[in-house]
């Protein structure tokens, strides 16, 4: 079998893999392909289960004799454990096991860099694991935590990434708080580009730490059956978690089963194995009983990752006619106490045609929870900065912001040797989004709608993201005797409706009605390997594998049909539950009448047809990206600082739209989360202790129903036939990316001043308007060593 090297991207990072070239990959469905199931709005197949409560989420798994585990967490941002005494906790009736660094296996923790352990004795953030109790119920476990006596030696800490880079800052790990080296990208000569510019703007932006706030907090249930481990985990990655569990527990992969059937949100916080899952497995092995460990809201917010904060200085120049000559970004991102990514330069490097570009991005350790990918990592904040600067330049040139963007349109990927994009529908996102929004009529509306204190404004922003997917990923399609089919595929449905999308792909290829097809995923025991659902890659990675498996099964089914119908197989096709003669469509037979003969018509009788499929390589020489543009209408109350988002039009191109209904849901969900980033959400750490003070849904503000405006989705449906056989790209992350930037540009349009800090809260609006004094201690700027009792209140 032929193999080749291919490149695929996950969350902006390119990977290389050698993969098999499929011998029987179906030809890509083009724009003119006649579809019976694909592209049609189809309600989620598991919708009734979810709304009726039949769907079992991980938290719903309760097993006989199951124990509950609770975690004792560090109250300090930086401390050493001097001593720990668990004897009183162990003596509490109902407590079955207590795990600490003293009795847990000395296990390296692969996600925490070189010196990370399952239980660390040096604690580097408030919330880090100190001990775990397993007891017969949750309450006893919680009570037992209070009986554990820990003596800590407190050490100085630093919470602010910029302060962390100062030479006398307390060190999180090792000699320097800089993680690795500053990442530098350069093309052309940015100084020359700035010198050639007619207009130059420079602006510094701050973005906050945003936590994922999954409505289903992290939870794992572990059960041993002999040497076999079964784990129910709220995860975005059943197969990676299975392999990682096997690795850290030193047991065979084949002995580990990981299941996640339904998920109440992950957004990037559930992409790999967590400590609590391993701890549940260890406690279950030790006690001989199943163990459940479920996080409360505070633990979830304090310890399960976040979108890191960034300080971004952008310098940009253009000619009088709007031609960009230079783009420069310097970014400092705070990754938390353990290695993570906090880059945000991709949009600036890639969206616009510009010969001179430089980015310098530093990731900095601070004494806080480790950052994790958060829906479009880096892109949300990077776009917030870039797209405001683009508007600033457009204003200098006296150009319409949309025209300015069109002027600097790039049809090639300038960061990858100017290779062309496989498809780029951004121009259509611009024109169709602007038409739907009424972009051309906004001047009149602004004047008409603005009142004395309440000003109306309009803004837009562009989105770029990867989302091409790639190998590996596998699927199996089984056609049953009665003309129904089962699809087993890797990966999992994290709430994005992939279960429904893949069922549509399989039904389309098999020529069956959707109700004839049943699909399973999210179980490593029954389903083949698939990737974690991150980087908007699930559909573009797995849909082609599902299609290939269905095509493999269909080939066999048509061979059977040719024997039954006495016609050459090449003349036969399946559609909507029938197999018919392409030359004479009225000659047709229900699929079940054909499959019912699988035990009699073949020389070797079969009771089931089995088709296999896998994800082949990505195309060479093209860049796979997704595109979008969002338009925002806002009202700003200049006396109270309140911003109301009145309307968002979101136009996105992610290749073929498999299901317009669930695609629209993705866009709406992304926009809502984008509004949260723009206006409400921010982690607040107490600078005296490093503890998060708004780790609850009262003080950590997610948008409520009344904060969500009318969201109008424009699905720019351009089947990307170069990308893969289903001509599809990912849509999970794109819609969150440009929302905050579009809102920020609309706010400027309304009040004539720039909001450079996210979230754009009333205090910041009033300050930007010059109506309120500046904050004397910046929210993220207080020196970590400051103690309240040393400060005299003014």
């Amino acid at each position: 079998m032929a193999k080749k090297k291919t490149i695929y991207e996950v969350d902006g990072v390119f990977h290389e893999a050698v993969v098999e070239v499929p011998a029987n990959e179906p030809q890509a469905w083009g724009p003119d392909a006649s579809m019976a199931v694909l592209g049609k709005p189809m309600p989620r197949v598991d919708g009734p289960d979810k709304v009726s409560g039949r769907a079992k989420y991980t938290y719903d798994i309760n097993l006989p004799r199951m124990l509950w585990a609770k975690v004792l967490r560090s109250p300090h941002a930086h401390a050493r454990i001097v001593s720990i005494d668990t004897s009183r906790a162990e003596a509490l009736p109902g407590v079955k096991a207590v795990l600490t660094h003293k009795n847990a296996p000395d296990m390296a923790w692969p996600f925490h860099g070189q010196d990370g352990k399952l239980f660390n004795t040096t604690l580097r953030y408030s919330g880090e694991e100190v001990a775990v109790v397993a007891a017969v119920d949750e309450q006893i476990a919680a009570d037992a935590l209070e009986l554990i006596a820990v003596e800590y030696e407190e050490m100085p800490f630093v919470l602010n990434p910029e302060k962390a880079l100062e030479s006398d800052a307390p060190k999180v790990r090792g000699e320097s708080n800089l993680q690795g080296r500053t990442s530098v990208y350069s093309r052309g000569d940015v100084e020359k580009g700035l010198a050639e510019a007619d207009f130059v703007v420079e602006q510094t932006f701050h973005s906050q730490v945003q936590v994922h706030a999954c409505l289903e907090a992290h939870v794992s249930v572990a059960q041993w059956s002999g040497d076999k481990l079964i784990v129910w985990d709220s995860t975005q990655a059943v197969h990676p978690v299975r392999e990682q569990l096997a690795q850290v527990l030193s047991i065979p992969i084949g002995k580990v089963r990981v299941i996640c059937q339904y998920s109440g949100g992950g957004f990037g916080s559930k992409l790999w194995l967590n400590k609590h899952t391993v701890i549940a497995a260890l406690l279950a092995r030790q006690t001989g009983r199943p163990v459940k460990i479920a996080f409360d809201r505070e633990e979830e917010a304090m310890t399960m990752g976040n979108r890191p904060s960034n300080v971004m200085t952008v310098k940009a120049g253009c000619k009088r006619d709007g031609t960009l000559t230079a783009l420069y970004l310097k970014s400092v991102g705070g990754v938390g106490a353990y290695p993570a990514g906090a880059g945000c330069g991709t949009p600036l490097r890639e969206i616009y045609a510009c010969p001179n570009v430089k980015t310098e991005e530093s990731n900095v350790f601070i004494h806080a929870d480790q950052a994790r990918p958060h829906r479009a990592p880096g892109h949300v904040q990077g776009t917030f900065a870039l797209e405001q600067v683009i508007d600033m330049l457009a204003e200098k040139c006296g150009m319409d912001p949309l025209e300015f963007r069109r002027k600097n349109y790039s049809s090639v990927d300038q960061t990858r040797n100017n290779i062309p994009y496989s498809a780029k529908g951004l121009d259509r996102c611009y024109s169709e989004g602007a038409a739907k929004f009424g972009w051309g009529e906004r001047a009149g509306r602004r004047q008409q709608a603005s009142q004395r204190a309440k000003k109306r404004g309009y803004g837009m922003a562009t989105q770029i993201w990867g989302g091409g997917g790639g190998p590996p990923g596998y699927a199996i399609v089984k056609i049953n005797f009665d003309g129904t089919a089962n699809v087993l595929c890797g990966a999992q449905d994290i709430g994005t409706a992939t279960r429904t999308s893949f069922l549509q792909v399989a039904a389309e290829e098999l020529g069956m009605k959707p109700e004839q097809v049943t699909l399973a995923m999210g179980d490593t025991e029954t389903c083949p390997y698939g990737p974690g659902s991150g980087g908007s890659r699930t559909v573009p990675s797995m849909a082609p594998a599902v299609r290939m498996a269905a095509a493999d099964a269909k080939r066999q089914m048509l061979d059977l049909a040719s024997r039954v119908m006495k016609l050459p197989a090449e003349r036969l096709e399946a559609r909507e539950g029938f197999i018919f003669d392409k030359e004479n469509p009225s000659t047709r037979s229900p699929i079940r009448d054909i499959t019912g003969k699988m035990r009699t018509e073949w020389e070797s009788p079969q009771s089931q047809i089995i088709g296999q499929g896998f994800r082949g390589p990505n195309p060479d020489g093209v860049a796979l990206n997704t595109w979008g543009a969002q338009f925002a209408e806002v009202e700003v109350d200049t006396e109270t600082g309140e911003i109301r988002v009145l309307r968002i039009v979101a136009a996105h191109e992610s290749g073929r739209i498999i299901n317009p209904l669930t695609a629209t849901s993705q866009i709406e969900g992304g926009v809502i989360q984008g509004i949260g980033f723009a206006l409400f959400e921010q982690r607040v750490l107490n600078n005296a202790t490093g503890r998060m003070v708004n780790a609850n849904l009262r003080d950590y503000k997610l948008p409520s129903a009344r904060d969500i405006p009318e969201i109008e989705s424009v699905l720019v449906d351009i089947p990307d036939t170069k990308a893969n056989s289903v001509a599809v790209k990912g849509l999970g992350e794109p819609p969150i990316i440009p929302t905050a930037a579009a809102i920020a540009n609309a706010v400027y349009d309304a009040i004539g001043v720039r909001l450079t800090e996210a979230p754009m809260t009333p205090d910041r609006v009033l300050r930007a308007l010059g109506k309120a004094p500046p904050a004397r201690v910046r929210a993220r700027g207080a020196p970590a060593t400051t103690r309240p009792w040393e400060v005299v209140h003014a």
Binding site: P75, Q139, A142, A453, E639, T640, G641, E642, R644, L679, F680, V684, N686, N687, A688, T689, R691, V693, N694, N696, R698, D699, K701, P703, S704, A705, R706, D707, T761, P762, D763, L766, R767, K771, A772, P773, P774, A775, R776, V777, A779, A782, T786, R787, P788, W789, E790, V791, H793, A794
Partner: protein, 329 residues
């Protein structure tokens, strides 16, 4: 969560006895919208909950053209909001309740509980931080994150009082009836709340074995109009950043009587006789409204991050005054 007993108090006397005299050893529960949070968050560890919902005599809404409005402590916010007499004679109260919390919470939250709720300061609410309001040594907001904290009336503790019901009730001149071992007493609502300079761990005058039984509101004179404006981060289910209540009795453009109070700016609901003085007997104009707002905030001492609350409160109060005076704001 610690175990506790849950005892029904079918009479006020029984409730008083069950509460005992040792501070926080027993706690009153009615709607429980605040107390359950405090229990779960480990902020209070009572041995006994005294369920006053078992006393139906505390659940009423009465109106009399002479005596005015009487709200039993157990009247729910939803019941008050929907009461025809409230809507007719005290529309500002119905309007206020419409911006409190969420409909689900308003269905169980009570009038008495709303006035007696504990602060939402995120340092007070964090069980890991032993702050002054909890009897500890530090107010973390002073050197910490104080965006939402007090600009008025702070004194070693800078919480803001979370009640939305209190500012319009203060502006309406409400009174509160308190039952205790010595019987009942009725005091002006403005004397019910106490600042940290009086007692840093409490927000009101209630002794351990006392409870609010009734809130009474006089009949507003003809020509009275009330307005309550609330600025909050979110449009629903959110505590206030700043609120302003203005109740004006107008006679031909001249203000005969003014009731002014602010919310979320001070450790107590902030009654402003200074603003009332500017308005009373004056023809209301945009300028006068601005002067009143200036007077209300004259004593403001913002902290490091909450300076924005001063112009915000001024703007909001000015707007409330103009709307209450029937002028476009």
């Amino acid at each position: 969560m610690h175990s506790f007993s849950y005892v029904d108090a079918r009479t006020i006397t029984r409730a008083i006895n069950l509460l005992g005299t040792e501070r926080d050893r027993a706690k009153i529960i009615s709607g429980g919208t605040d107390l359950l949070d405090e229990l779960k968050e480990g902020l209070v560890k009572p041995e006994r909950l005294v369920n006053i919902k078992a006393n139906p005599a505390l659940k009423y809404i009465r109106f009399d053209a002479a005596a005015g409005l009487q709200l039993g402590a157990l009247a729910t916010l939803t019941e008050v909001e929907n009461d025809p007499n409230v809507r007719q004679h005290y529309p500002v109260l119905a309007q206020t309740i419409g911006v409190i919390a969420s409909p689900q919470l308003r269905n169980v939250a009570t009038v008495g509980g709303n006035l007696c709720q504990r602060p939402r300061c995120w340092y007070y609410r964090n069980d890991a931080l032993f702050c002054k309001r909890k009897g500890g040594p530090i107010c973390y907001s002073v050197a910490g994150e104080n965006t939402y904290h007090a600009i008025l009336g702070g004194h070693e503790c800078y919480i803001v009082h979370p009640s939305d019901l209190a500012p319009p009730l203060l502006a309406l001149g409400a009174k509160v009836t308190i039952a205790g071992p010595q019987g009942r007493r009725t005091i002006p609502l403005k004397d019910f709340f106490i600042g940290p300079e009086v007692n840093i761990t409490r927000e009101n005058v209630l002794a351990q074995n006392e409870l609010v039984t009734e809130v009474s509101v006089p009949v507003p004179p003809a020509g009275t109009r009330g307005v309550y404006l609330k600025v909050r981060d979110r449009q629903t289910w959110d505590f206030a950043t700043v609120t302003a209540a203005a109740v004006l009795t107008m006679e031909g453009g001249v203000c005969r009587r003014a009731g002014i109070a602010l919310g979320a700016v001070a450790p107590i609901p902030w009654h402003s006789p200074e603003a009332e003085k500017v308005l009373t007997g004056t023809r209301i104009t945009a300028e006068v409204a601005a002067q009143a707002a200036e007077a209300a905030l004259a004593g403001a001492k913002p902290m490091t991050q909450n300076g924005y609350k001063v112009p915000l409160a001024k703007n909001l109060l000015r707007r409330a005054i103009l709307q209450a005076a029937g002028l476009a704001a």
